[in-house]
């Protein structure tokens, strides 16, 4: 009397973009969908299984519970059949001598009690199995997720610059979701389905080998149906996926460019295109839905065929006395359970494959080469002066195309280096090298005479303060954001830093002052205010060397003046690398690096560079003097 319990394991989908259907229902999931195949199934699955090692005992318990629960489930129809036989005997005997020979109730009670016990145990073990597995699965996912996140902190910047954030995010969201679901559901399903399949066959054989053969007749039909449907529906799902991708792309593009669509009056055109794609999506979509949707009815059909066969042949066998009536009843149950594990197994096979593909993508992160190890005999700078030297530095993002060639610079403590050049000239390169986000190809950079590779990265980076145009603030209070500059800074120090950064005033005009929580995009304060906060953060950190970006293109004039003043305060007495936009900074700089299309092309002081009459000379004339002279004339 137990229908297949696996059929009702609907995996509640846990993620937003769950790739497989949230309805894990009657054995159809995964069959129809296109499957992503892992590159190396065996290695990946072994590696994933290794995470179970700490839970070996629990897993044993899970397996035992799963086996027991399944075995009890398999036995019970036979017992129901026996009970029915008991009824039948009673009835038959009554037919026989027409005297009220009654059903043997004490025996029936015994049978039903045993059956009841089996049911209770089966459910209990089933519960225990799922309950324990929930703990194991989630803990395992937790461990892997933590490992991957820890790994991210050790990966070089090169990795983040060359992998889109969306890609990394999707591994965290979708792939982990996939892994979690599989660990929770599919592994035990694998066990129970396999046992059910074998167990059912064994039970059927013990009852009647001939009838078993009859039921087996439906088996090839199941295979054929699964085959045909799977290939068909994959094809439609792929088509659906393609149309959906095109459609999403169109929506994204049109909405992002809405101003332009509107201003140029292209709404109709965009709508026409949308309807076109939407129509394609409809065509592919309903077919995919349909084909994947008929697996269940077809399986039910096969089940019914089995039912008919068993009823007819069982009936005949009973009339011949070759079988008891209760056995037919038991057989009906077994026949119904017979095809389900098959569907289930083939669906699990697909799910596990796609999970391994997910696991592979996650492990890929774990296998990325990490930042170079810290030097063996690490040195330290006790009281840094900020004396920075570039000695024959050569560097390129690609091995064969250096963007910096043999750069030599000697920057005395407190001096300013201005970096100038057209937009997109690759000014971040210098930051990458100074902070050792990237490794040099040749030469070395020194601070107070010490090669930076001889310092702990953490120590090295603590020497720098950075104020960039793309401010980074996080979801939290303003206080926390400033305090980010130095662990354990006191309230007074935080406020002092804010005052020095000219940020105190605006912070106090906010409704919650320093406790104002910045929202996710930090859009509740202006761009300029954000910049002031990052300056305050840098001031609090008190670094001997600064990296500043003067660009303030989206900041209003007054805030800009504040920012400038704050930067000047900050720069006092510190060695500074300034991505310069203002003439005064450039002219007063002790050294100017001229960059163009990613390369350092000239270097020197203002007058030296002017005298050179090179790129800088042109740049300077076009940028500043031409128009400025116009003003001067007025």
């Amino acid at each position: 009397m137990n229908a297949n319990k696996n059929s009702t394991n609907a995996p509640p989908s846990t993620g937003r973009n769950n790739s497989h259907n949230p309805w894990g229902g009657p054995g159809a999931v995964g069959i129809g969908m296109p499957v992503q195949k892992p590159k190396n199934f065996k290695a990946t699955s072994l590696r994933l299984l290794a995470y179970f090692r700490p839970h070996v005992w629990l897993l044993m318990a899970v397996s035992v519970a799963a086996v027991l629960s399944t075995v009890f489930t398999i036995i019970s129809p036979k017992l129901v059949g026996n009970a029915t036989n008991l009824l039948a005997t009673g009835v038959m005997s009554r037919f026989g001598n027409h005297v009220g020979t009654h059903i043997h109730f004490p025996q029936l009670i015994d049978d039903l009690m045993i059956l009841g016990g089996l049911y209770v145990f089966s459910s209990a073990f089933n519960f225990v199995q799922q309950y324990l597995m929930a703990g194991v699965a989630q803990k395992t996912v937790y461990t892997i997720r933590k490992q991957v996140n820890d790994k991210l902190t050790r990966l070089p910047l090169r990795y983040f610059d060359s992998h889109p954030h969306g890609d990394i995010m999707s591994r965290f969201v979708n792939d982990f979701d996939n892994i979690g679901n599989t660990l929770q559901q599919s592994l035990t399903q694998l066990i129970t389905s396999a046992i059910t399949f074998v167990g059912v066959i064994v039970m059927m054989l013990t009852i009647s080998p001939i009838m078993t053969l009859v039921v087996f007749l439906t088996l090839p039909l199941s295979f054929v149906i699964i085959r045909v449907i799977a290939s068909r529906s994959q094809q439609y799902f792929l088509a659906q996926q393609t149309s959906l991708g095109t459609l999403n792309g169109h929506v994204e593009e049109m909405f992002t460019g809405h101003v332009i669509v509107k201003a140029f009056g292209h709404e109709k055109k965009s709508l026409v295109r949308f309807n076109e794609i939407n129509e394609q999506l409809y065509e592919a979509g309903w077919k995919a839905q349909f084909v994947s949707g008929i697996i269940m009815p077809l399986m039910n059909f096969i089940g019914n065929l089995g039912f008919v066969l068993v009823s007819v042949f069982g009936g005949i066998m009973v009339t011949r006395g070759a079988m008891k009536i209760g056995d037919v009843l038991a057989f009906i149950q077994y026949a119904r359970q017979f095809s389900q594990p098959l569907t289930q197994l083939s669906s699990i096979a697909n799910i596990i494959q796609s999970t391994m593909a997910s696991a592979e993508r996650v492990f890929e992160i774990l296998d990325e080469p990490e930042e170079k190890e810290e030097a063996k005999n690490v040195l330290d700078i006790e009281s840094p002066y900020g004396h920075v030297g570039f000695e024959h530095v050569t560097f390129g993002y690609e091995p064969d195309s250096p963007v910096i060639k043999d750069l030599r610079m000697d920057i005395k403590p407190g001096q300013t280096v201005a970096i100038v050049g057209p937009t997109g000239a690759g000014k971040t390169t210098l930051i990458n090298l100074l902070m050792r986000f990237y490794e040099l190809d040749a030469g070395k950079i020194t601070i107070d005479g010490i090669d930076i590779t001889m310092l702990y990265r953490g120590r090295l980076r603590s020497l720098f303060g950075m104020v960039l145009q793309d401010t980074w603030l996080f979801h939290g209070t303003i206080r926390d954001n400033i305090a980010y500059g130095r662990l354990g800074a006191s309230e007074r120090e935080i406020v002092q830093a804010a005052v020095a950064a000219h940020a105190d005033h605006f912070i106090r005009t906010l409704p919650d002052g320093y406790d104002t929580v910045l929202n996710e995009e930090a859009s509740n304060i202006s761009q300029g205010q954000k910049q002031l906060l990052t300056i305050a953060r840098a001031i609090l950190a008190e670094p001997p060397i600064l990296i500043l970006d003067e660009a303030t293109s989206s900041v209003d004039t007054r805030t800009e003046v504040f920012i400038q003043q704050a930067m000047n305060t900050l720069m006092k007495g510190r060695t500074s690398f300034v991505i310069a936009h203002r003439l005064s900074t450039i002219r007063d700089a002790d050294n100017i690096l001229v960059m163009n299309s990613g390369q350092v092309i000239e270097q020197g002081t203002h007058s030296e560079l002017l005298a050179k009459k090179g790129f800088y000379f042109d740049l300077y004339n076009s940028q500043f003097s031409g128009e400025s002279l116009g003003i001067a004339a007025k």
């Binding site: 009397m1 997720r145 309903w286 008919v308 004039t557 400038q564």
Partner: protein
Amino acid sequence: MIRLLVFLRPYRVSVSLVLLFIFLQSLFNLYLPNLMSDIVDTGIAREDIVYIFEIGGFMLLVTFAVVLFSITASWLAARTSTGFGTALRARVFAHVEEYALHEFDHIGTASLITRTTNDITQVQQFVNMSLRMMVMAPMMAIGGIIMAVLTDARLSLVIVVVMPVLALAIYLVLGKGIALFRAMQYKIDRLNRILRENLIGIRVIRSFNRMEYEKKRFDEANFDLTDTATRVNRIMASIQPLMMLIINLSTLAILWFGAVRINDGAMMIGNLMAFLQYVMQILFAVMMVSMMFFMIPRASASAARINEVLDLAPMIRDAVLLQEPGDSVRAEGLEFQNVTFRYPGAEKPALEGISFRAVPGQVTAIIGGTGAGKSTLVNLIPRLYDIENGAILLNGTDLRHFLQHSLRAKIGYVPQKAVLFTGTVADNIRYGREEATTDEVRHAAEVAQATEFIDGMQDGFDTLITQGGTNVSGGQKQRLSIARAIVRRPEIYIFDDSFSALDFTTDANLRAALKTEIRDAIMIIVAQRVSTIMNADQIIVLDEGRMIGVGLHHELMKTCDVYREIVASQLSDEVSAS
């Protein structure tokens, strides 16, 4: 959710047919055990093999009928739910295309994208599952009860008792589970947010040495999520064994009471066997539906988000009495008369008392700090927003009297943030005017100082721009979007801070080229850089939404403090002071 079902209306017939077929399918499916009981009670009892075969043949027919019904139902359900999704999607997209900027600001572009794509897919899937599964349960239940009562009314009492018990169990477990589900979703979002912050801020985090801190932050969120996920799954672990137990125990009850009735001669054994089958079918149908309840919170959240989009009516609509703007801009040009504009819900107006006239052949420049209202002001011209008070006139006619489309046809707009579309470079320029010839496209690119880099690209004007224009730089994007406006040959040019990503040389060359190119159009330039606009025929200085100065550069240098401040902050002291 319910409101969206309006989109099912064209499929009324299909939906009714789906219901009918599923009902028939359920009834026929339930009829099989009934036939089996005939085999047992009549065929076996009379040892009538012919009868058994007859009934068997009949059962086969019923089996085929069942599969036919259910496949037809699936076919109709697939077409209906997909059609529903298609119609809903088309409606939402068309509605959003009507939006002006205000509505986009209100909901947010990213969110609008999700609502039009994922949310609709979510709802569509829900409709599909409902049509196939959810309606099956009541049908099965009704059919099952009918058959059960017909077979043995007294024994049917077992079902009457079990159903509420099962319902209660489902209610209790799901009630708890769904709340936890919501909590889990929230925690997933939080973990993702932390991860995103970590990815974006990686340089800052490393330069401040806060990796350990961030690790801890992530770990806390990770642990919290794991905790909730474990609880969710543990609750889920109870639901299925519990239901199985209820179902199994009810079969025991049926066996027992059935035995008693058989013993009394009130029931035949085949009937009992059939009865057991009915109960199983009914209860499994109920159980299947209970699993679907987990889709409800998700689908209803999606539905609510979609409804919000549909409920937000575009503020700007075409007037009833329309006037055509006339073929060319007359000398009256474009006039702002005491214009006040306020973002909806804002306490202070974003623009107040703006009055000026921009005439053909002249350059009107707008300068001022962030938040001064510069972009807002120019966005009013193509009616991307509508004003609150005052009037904006073109050739003496209020903008609101024009058809939006014909007004915008006169405007070449270059936005602050350059936007390109998937397609070739030429396609993107031609977006300004579809019928532009190759020469015109090339010429526009030349004026926009874009030919040099276009020719340097692999396929020149036929080079494909990827989505979002990721394969061109910011400055290149800006130049292409300028070319797009130029090829339009509009009567009004709007440059909203469109030179910011250009270096000074290109900026200067571009302005020189524009000057010779555009002779009799109205030019409105918003800029941050003084050097970009100081030769304009009219400079408007905005501060906090008000005009605090208007005039030529040298006039403003004398009369306008804020203007002087701006100039001073951008040009080196000695140059501007001299």
